[in-house]
Structures are given as C-alpha cells and as structure tokens.
C-alpha cells in the first residue's frame, strides 16, 4: 500500500467520522464487494456473509461515534487490510454461534473427485481447510493481498503468513490429489513424493 493511498484512507475515514454520508457510501462501494467475497468464502454462506458485512460496517459506525477514537487507525496500516481483518473477526464471531451453520465441506460435491465444475471441488477443499489456513489462502490467493497486507489484516507476523500459506497450499494439494489425471481439461494436482 502506498503512502498516498494511506493518506487517502485517512482522509476518507476523517470525513466519515465527521458524519459525511457520501464518504461512508464511497467506503462501502469501494470495499464491500471484495469483503463480501471474502466473507462468503470464509463462511461458505452468502447469508452469513451478509450478516458479517453488516456487523463490520455497523461496527465502523459505532467507532465513528465513539469519543477518543477507535476503529480504523491510519497509523497502523491501510484501510483495506483493516476491513479484511474486521471481516475475519466478525465471521469468527458469527461462526461461534451454534445456530450459524456454515456450508459443510462436502456439501454438494465430492471432494477430490472429478466434477464438471473444478471450481466446486476447489471451493469444497477450501472449506475443509482449518480456519487459520483458509484465511491466508483466501486473502493471498483469491483477494490478492501481499504477505504484509495479510499480516496486517490478521494481526500476525509476515513470517506466520508465509508459513501458514505454505502449509495451507500443501493441504489443498493433498485434498485435491484424488483428481484423476489425464482427463481433458483436468487440473489434476498431486503432491509428489520427495
């Protein structure tokens, strides 16, 4: 994230704190689509993702109303990372609710088997990853965050992001390793023996 972008974030946040509805709308339109994608893949449910997104933006409103600050702090990084982190925290909170049922890992798809939709198999494999692993894969591989940005979002060191991503990818490869190779259009991935 460039310093200019962080300055823009700071200016936007300041406008929101001052009650600028247009600024809040801009924040939503700029960030809601990727945040919603992330939340949907994290929880496996579009309905849960909507709740999560709502929690995050309501939390931002609460922060703007709080005396003495709170919420996004430009000194600690860019707004995008902050928002991804907020989505992750809100999703974890939602998923702790025993009533919240994320999509089951194998719902509607046989993981590791050839399907007509490779994306479906990969999506199912992602849902089978442990939450810590799933988060880094979604942020770094699907949302395009750099290690440093993902580290800021998750509140962990960059080295931890690297190691989690490394292990998560290996686990993904293992989960997908039953894909029969040699099929036309097959995206077979098999973890090779060393």
């Amino acid at each position: 994230m460039s310093p200019d972008a962080i300055l823009d974030d700071a200016a936007l946040w300041q406008r929101i704190r001052q009650g600028d509805e247009a600024a809040f709308g801009q924040l939503y339109r700029d960030h809601a689509p990727p945040l919603f994608r992330f939340a949907t893949r994290l929880t496996g449910s579009a309905a849960l993702a909507e709740d999560v997104l709502q929690d995050v933006f309501v939390g931002l409103m609460d922060a703007t109303a709080r005396r003495g600050g709170g919420g996004y702090d430009p000194a600690r990084g860019d707004l995008r990372s902050y928002l991804f982190g907020a989505v992750r925290n809100a999703a974890r909170k939602r998923l702790r609710d025993p009533g919240a049922r994320p999509a089951a890992p194998g719902d509607g798809v046989a993981v590791g088997r050839r399907t007509d939709d490779d994306s479906q198999a990969l999506r199912a494999a992602l849902l089978r990853l442990e939450p810590d692993f799933r988060e880094v894969v979604l942020l770094c591989e699907l949302e395009g965050l750099l290690y440093q940005e993902a580290a800021a979002a998750l509140g962990i060191p960059v080295g931890t992001v690297r190691s989690r991503l490394h292990r998560a990818r290996a686990r993904l490869v293992a989960l997908l390793s039953d894909d029969p190779p040699g099929q036309p259009g097959s995206l077979h991935v098999r973890e090779e023996a060393r």
Binding site: L35, E50, A100, G144, Y147, R169
Partner: protein, 286 residues
Amino acid sequence: MTTPTTRAMTCDELHAMARDLARAPAEGAAPGAPDPGEPVDAELLLRAREHLRGCAACAQRIEGERRLDTRLTALAAREAPSPPAALEQRLLGAFRARLVGETPPDVVSLAAPERRRAPIAPPRATSRRWPLLVAGGLALAGAAAAAVWLAGPPEPRPTAQVRPAPPPPAFADERAALPIVGGDEPLTAGAGDLVVIARPGTAEARGGAFVPLGWDGDSRPIEIGRIARVRLPTALAARFGWPLLPDAPDARVAADVLVGEDGTARALRFLPATFTPISFSKEESP
C-alpha cells in the same frame, strides 16, 4: 549473481519458497514481464532454478504449485458474489439516522430481516437464547423487587413485588390497561417476562436514550441485540433518577431493556409517559 562459493539450495529450502517460485517469471522471460506474486530475491531465484535443473521431484512440485495457482485464479475469476443492494441501503439509512440522533450511538444497530436470518439460526439455537433473555428479565425484576422491599415503609408491603405472575386469563385485561409508548406492539407477557418488541435501530427502538447498566464494568457497545419491553417497579426507576411516586410505590412502569447477543441486559430506558400507576396496585392484585 551466483558465485562459485554460493551454497546449493536444498529441497526443503526450495519447498519453503515454492509458492513464490511458481509465481515468479519463467526462466528466460523478457525483462519487464508481469510478476503476479511476491518479489523473489534475484539470487535466491537463481539458486532455485539451478536446483530445479537437477531435481526432478522439486521440479514436479513447482509444476504442481503452478497448477494450483491456475485453479485458484480460475476460481477467483469465476466467482464474484456481490453483496445485496438492500444492504447498502440499510447501512446508509442507519448512518443517516445516527446523524440526526434518532438512536443512541452506542446502541444503534441493524439486523437482517428475520425471513433471511431464519435459515441461518435454526430453532434449536434460538431456543437456547430465550432462556437467557427471560433470565435477564427476571433478574432485573428481582433486583427491582428487592429495592422496593428495602426502601419501603415498615408496614407490610403489598404483595405486588413478590406475587406470582397473574394467571393467563388476566393477561388480556392487563394488556389492555398497559400504556405502551413508542411501540406498536402491546406487552403480552406477565411481570418479569421479556417480550421482544424491536431490534436496535428500528423505528420501535427510537424512544429515548438508554442508560447503560454496566454489569461488571462491561461497556462494550451493543452491535446486535434485541429490545425487550418489561414492566418494572417504580422504585427501580427511582434508582436511575426518576422521581418515585409516593402514592403509588407498587406501581409498575414500562421500560425497554436492551439485551445483547449474549443474552445479558446491557442498557435500560424508561418510558416517561407510562409513569402512571398501572395495573399492579394492591387492590387489583389477585
């Protein structure tokens, strides 16, 4: 640049950077080719490529990483779910409402419509939360009853504080007598029971300022919760600064309790227009 003294890369070292290596520009790519991944140190890249030339297993590993990348990229491009437009409208409406002070800043919230939330929270989970809600209400009512008992005159107190909830047939009459303010829905349960009438941020909730209860110093803002309308003794209202009506020490007043997602009562507001003796006078008690 590699030098004759450069140590050869091991398989483990290569595996540790497999993802970045798979995303690095292919060997022999033209300068300036787009690099979709994290930048890889030039010397490390040279050492890795040298290792790959002599290690078929690692070369296959990197090829597998590239295939996984292809698959992930395809998924990212193929799926682009968008948030529903109604969500933006709800959030902007809430932001606007805060500007004009329609709701207290620390308790305003939104809630997705029940019709959509229903499949997310099956009945089993909902029923788990209800005992907490009811317990919170009963605890409030119990505390208020104790306050009345301690502050009251030495004469035997009327039984309103401790009497059991009226039998079901009486509910209809009580309901008719209760002056509910700021909400469209009547109170429909006995004393101490909670009746969820609104969610924070809704029109029904905009009746006045809530007073945080601050249990155990908890000052967390309410983001998700419910507002329940209850009947409480006026003595409890007195503890929050409202004048105690001397001629109606046992009267009950309507109040809204803001119940957090965890089922605990977080804030309270009394409805001023209901400060009239209602329903639970000694004479009317069964």
